[in-house]
Symmetry: C2
Subunit: 251 residues, 2 copies
């Protein structure tokens, strides 16, 4: 039976981290909100958020249904799917590390979202632009280098080699790192000019994940909608800035 | 062999969610930064962040060492410890739901932290007070009710009864919900006056978790340091506000 993925239809968003794993594995799945006609699919999604699916409502999309089991939250879904899609490491210590990386990626995504919604999730970006400029500046000078530098160290230090973040084969972590890599380049093209030189192992890992046969086919398909200014990674040029010079904080 | 918990010594912070689980289970553990003398313990913690523990460095505290295995990130540590401490549900669907709740709690904690650090984690609260006021107002009127209302629905709808969030016995989720309950009351006493009436199942669950024998002993001990203005839950009266009237958004 196919997995059912519930996520908003018009954006890559958090759902994309799940789609990449399903696509990489060639798994059968239904992207409910997109495939059942936007109206009916979104209605089904909202009904489940409202608790009509039973006593274990999800808090927010994305969530995944596998028969009787409902799993919500990106990192939780990838934890569930990883072993089933052969996209998880084999041993317990490696799995715990992979999940920790997935959770760190999750934190990065939340901070990216807050660069354009630093005050309120319910107000538009346009109503918090001044604060967004300050938040984005801090993110680009303080936070993004901390996260990306960490991932670079992890990959460069992987005893099994730098092709993957954990172990010696493709995992959900590699796919998620690819997604944040291209997402950041879309959202902050000036700040990320030259990132491939600053983080060469991460850049190479992202390229390798994108080149995996199923992933490459997906990225070339209509199912991979382009980034846009409704998702997590948004290109607002006023929030972008030239990269920091080495040793000096930007801005 | 005792678990080793690595976290900053002077605050409850994120580490407290782990301490509560270890204490509830009566598990043997070393709170490294506190017990080895603050200087040496923090030095050990920083060394591990710098990668001196091997090829799988944690991104940030808290992290837990169990023999050869290192686990970082609160929800990941609780996922690892839950079954070992008999604080996790038995079946896979319930465990996936519990982990999803733990991740939602994690998101709430991050938003609480952002009420006093909405622009930059590296600047002091005093340097971002104006934005903090706006962020805290949005948090109290929009986000906290969404999270707490969700937890209330989950608990009230638990087929095994309202004593616990998932299943019929104490889990890490109950302990974490207790912690956010008392933390929010500490940080926002005006906004949370009357919360026990707005969220009665959650209030009762928090009280029950606190009354568990080991937890009660811990809370009465010197190991439970008080909340303070260096942690996640901080009492800044200027960020607090009277609770919203029913049906009207506050402020």
């Amino acid at each position: 039976m196919a997995y059912e993925l519930f996520y908003w239809p018009g954006i890559q968003g958090r759902g994309e981290f799940v789609r990449l794993a399903l696509e990489a594995a060639g798994a059968a799945y239904v992207d409910v909100a997109r495939e059942r006609g936007s109206g009916r699919g979104v209605k089904a999604l909202m009904a489940m958020l409202d608790g009509e699916a039973g006593p274990r409502p999800p808090f927010a999309p994305p969530f995944l249904r596998d028969g009787d089991i409902l799993v919500s939250h990106v990192a939780n879904i990838l934890l569930y799917l990883g072993p089933r899609l052969s996209l998880a490491p084999a041993d317990e210590g490696a799995r715990a590390f992979a999940h920790g990386l997935q959770l760190t990626i999750n934190d990065l995504i939340a901070e990216v979202h807050d660069t354009h919604h630093p005050i309120s999730h319910q107000r538009y970006y346009e109503d918090q632009k001044r604060e967004a400029k300050a938040r984005a500046a801090a993110f680009l000078s303080e936070r993004a280098p901390k996260y990306l530098g960490y991932f670079e160290r992890v990959i460069a230090g992987n005893p099994a080699g730098k092709a993957h973040a954990v172990g010696d084969k493709l995992t959900t972590v590699d796919l998620s790192l690819f997604q944040i890599w291209v997402g950041l380049a879309y959202a902050f093209p000036r700040a990320f000019a030259g990132a491939d030189k600053a983080y060469p192992a991460l850049a190479a890992l992202a390229a390798k994940a994108a080149a995996q046969t199923n992933v490459a086919a997906y990225l070339a398909s209509a199912r991979r909608i382009p980034f846009n200014e409704s998702g997590i990674f948004r290109h607002y040029p006023e929030l972008d800035q030239a990269p920091a010079k080495a040793g000096r904080r930007n801005g």
